[in-house]
């Protein structure tokens, strides 16, 4: 099986290629078949590989395809590297990807760009797989940018709406900012290590970079920059809410389950570098903590269903960053996986709702869908519960709880991280259930269209089961102490070192988290089910805060003011190129001389003779002066 590893990314790529070349000629059925089928095959291969890894987590599969370029000391290959970490990722990517492909066949059925959609989607899966399988950072960068491109294409999929294009562009440019930082990081890495192969770097890191060294810190920060951009973390998070302009499956796959977690992958992959730069790692945590709060509060005020989910995604990735920041790599990856399941589920559910309601995004115009769309409702509820981390029964609880615990208990954790995570959990519960109540309860406000078909419900159900059950592979000490996932992950990442003597408080933390979560649900219930009349009051009493949160804490406005506007202004005032004015100046000076001299040629003979006389005087004067 190992030697077929290359097929995992190659199959979706081949699919994409066929779809691109055959666009316009293939029927929708064939397109869907190719699109979903290729990913499905990939998923199958990765499943088989995954089983192997479950048996032997420490397996490492290396596969070199061809030499990309080798210049000077740099030699870069198209080479794949599969270990336990990337295994988790490729599993999630192919599996969730496959489900979303299935879902899309029905979801996108009436769209003109059906084939195009699948082509992009396949290309995305391929890029994402390259990203996680890359053996060296340059190849990873290829995947990194490739997913960016696909994200761009898919956000702007409905290109006729101009604003979709702008949203896509925004996403690309902002992530590019991060990517540039990462690229610079790559340069530094190359200069420091003379190679860009990940494993070599990681092996050499402890020798070349002393603990806390300046170079190491800068490198870590630059990599963090890349991660922050891709994963929509502070301060580059603003693109993600706008990215919801894309079709819902896209939001599910790219902007929730896979691409946005590339940052998590990058940091986990290069964790030794971060370990060597404690400052940077601490900042990972800080960024995660702040982001999760900011995004959580923003989510509270949104009324576009998908934007709520978008902010929640930012917030949840904030949790992962927080986990990374405290050195709880396996927790982060665990949360990534669970999050991928439930967030994909939520997005797909939301997409189904929106589709059924004829592209209605506003939650306040929804309601009462509980009975009309039972399957969607139940699966969505499971997802929401998982997101809100309803205690004990949802997968989200276990993954998030672990992070909460680590934020405090890890050696690198502290009380502030913990508090932020805790408040975040509380807020999460509120907005999640606000969303649930608004959408599915209350009276029906919009006409419900065709009910959804099997291709939509099946992925929802599978994901629902996963969101419910996947948490049980990793149970905390207090609840059975089942550590399948973290054991598996130890093959690639170290177990988190806990502060001494803190174990005893674990139950307390779990309890507080559970209570807060339920309290959050309660508050949501109170405001959005029980006393809907208080809502307006609350809103008006907090109008400023509300607006501030709604706008995503004003980041867009600030960036607009600080970067975009000046750039556009600078660019537009200089449209005609100021430097050209200099050359135009030369031209006018020449013309001036021409005019001046032409005036001497006035046709009058005596004047000409005068010229000769002046010349004679000049000649004689020079003769006299410089004799």
């Amino acid at each position: 099986m190992e030697k077929y590893l290359w097929l995992v990314p190659a199959l979706p790529f081949a699919g994409a290629l066929i779809l691109i070349l055959g666009s316009g000629k293939l029927t929708k059925g064939i397109s869907g078949f190719i699109g979903a089928g290729s990913v499905g095959l990939s998923a199958a291969i990765s499943l088989v590989l995954g089983l192997q890894f479950l048996r032997e987590p420490a397996t490492v599969i290396q596969q070199q395809l061809w030499s990309w370029f080798s210049v000077g000391g740099l030699s870069t290959n198209f080479a794949l590297h599969l270990d336990a970490l990337s295994m988790v990722f490729i599993f999630v990517i192919t599996f969730v990807g496959f489900l979303i492909h299935l879902y899309s066949i029905e979801f996108m059925h009436d769209d003109d760009g059906f084939t195009r959609f699948f082509a992009y989607l396949n290309l995305f899966v391929c890029s994402m797989l390259i990203l996680v399988l890359a053996d060296n950072l340059v190849l990873m960068y290829l995947g990194w940018e490739g997913v960016g491109l696909c994200s761009y294409l898919l956000i702007g999929f409905w290109y006729k709406e101009e604003k979709n294009g702008y949203a896509a562009r925004k996403a690309f440019i902002i992530t590019r900012v991060g990517d540039t930082a990462m690229a610079i990081g790559l340069f530094m890495l190359f200069q420091t290590f003379g190679t860009l192969t990940i494993q070599e770097i990681l092996n050499l890191a402890p020798q070349r970079l002393p603990m806390g060294s300046e170079t190491g810190t800068i490198i870590a920060f630059l990599l963090l920059g890349g991660a922050v951009g891709k994963s929509a973390q502070l301060p580059l998070q603003t693109w993600l809410p706008d990215a919801m302009a894309g079709p819902s499956p896209v939001s599910a796959l790219i902007h929730a389950a896979t691409m946005v977690t590339a940052g998590v992958y990058l940091i986990t992959r290069t964790f030794p570098l971060f370990e060597l730069a404690p400052l940077a790692q601490n900042w990972v945590g800080i960024i995660g903590a702040v982001t999760l709060l900011i995004a959580g509060f923003s989510a509270l005020t949104q009324f576009d269903l998908k934007r709520v989910l978008a902010y929640s995604t930012i917030s949840q990735i904030g949790y992962m960053f927080l986990a990374l920041g405290v050195g709880a790599y396996s927790s982060a990856i665990f949360h990534f996986m669970i999050h991928a399941f439930f967030k994909a589920l939520l997005f797909l559910g939301a997409g189904a709702v929106i589709m059924v309601l004829h592209h209605e995004h506003d939650m306040f115009k929804m309601g009462g869908l509980k009975d009309k769309l039972p399957v969607i409702f139940w699966t969505f509820l499971i997802g929401a519960g998982s997101l809100a981390a309803l205690p004990f029964i949802t997968a989200g609880f276990y993954s998030k709880d672990q992070i909460l615990w680590m934020a405090l208990a890890s050696e690198k954790g502290n009380i502030w991280f913990f508090l932020a995570a805790l408040i975040g959990a509380f807020v999460t519960a509120i907005y999640t259930f606000r969303m649930v109540f608004l959408t599915f309860y209350g009276e029906e406000k919009t006409h419900v269209g065709h009910p959804v078909g099997a291709l939509i419900t099946i992925p929802l159900v599978i994901l629902g089961i996963l969101s419910f059950a996947a948490g049980f592979i990793e149970l905390p000490h207090t609840l059975g102490h089942f550590t399948l996932f973290s054991d598996y992950m130890t093959a690639v990442v170290p177990a988190t070192e806990l502060s001494p003597g803190i174990e005893s408080t674990e139950w307390l933390i779990q309890l507080s988290a559970a209570v807060l979560c339920l309290a959050g649900v309660g508050i949501a219930y109170f405001f959005y089910m029980k006393r809907t009349d208080l809502r307006a009051e609350l809103k008006s009493s907090m109008i400023v805060t509300n607006r501030f949160w709604y706008s995503g804490w004003g980041f867009d406005q600030v960036y607009d003011f600080v970067f975009v506007k000046p750039y556009v202004y600078l660019s537009s005032i200089n449209k005609n190129d100021i430097i050209d004015a200099f050359y135009k100046g030369i031209v006018s000076v020449s013309n001036f001389f021409h005019d001046a001299f032409a005036r001497t040629q006035n046709g009058v003979m005596r004047w000409y003779i005068m010229g000769i006389v002046v010349g004679a005087i000049f000649v004689l004067s020079i003769g006299l002066l410089f004799q």
Partner: protein, 102 residues
């Protein structure tokens, strides 16, 4: 003929030359300009005579004769041209002949 310095002869020639020059510059009448040029040529000839006299060579005088010839040829062509121009412009104003400029 002892005490005439070379300078005196040359200054005379130079002065006459300059007078002709002034005349060329101030006169608008083409015939006058031609006459002025003749004065200048004559002055140059005089200078040659002075120089020839200084060295006691006949070359200066030979040169004078050639200048004379040239002046004659010049005047004849010049006058023919002036006649021609007068018929076209009905004036002897040198400044009027300024159709070409720029």
């Amino acid at each position: 003929m002892k005490a005439i310095p070379v300078e005196a002869g040359l200054i005379l020639a130079g002065t006459l030359f300059m007078l002709g020059l002034i005349s060329v510059l101030i006169r608008r009448n083409i015939i006058f300009m031609l006459i002025s040029v003749e004065i200048m040529l004559n002055a140059a000839g005089l200078a040659f005579i002075v120089a020839g006299a200084r060295w006691g060579q006949p070359d200066g005088q030979v040169m004078f004769i050639f200048i004379l010839t040239m002046a004659a040829a010049e005047v004849s062509v010049g006058l023919a041209l002036i006649l021609q121009l007068y018929h076209q412009l009905q004036t002897l104003d040198g400044d009027a002949a300024n159709k070409m400029k720029g």
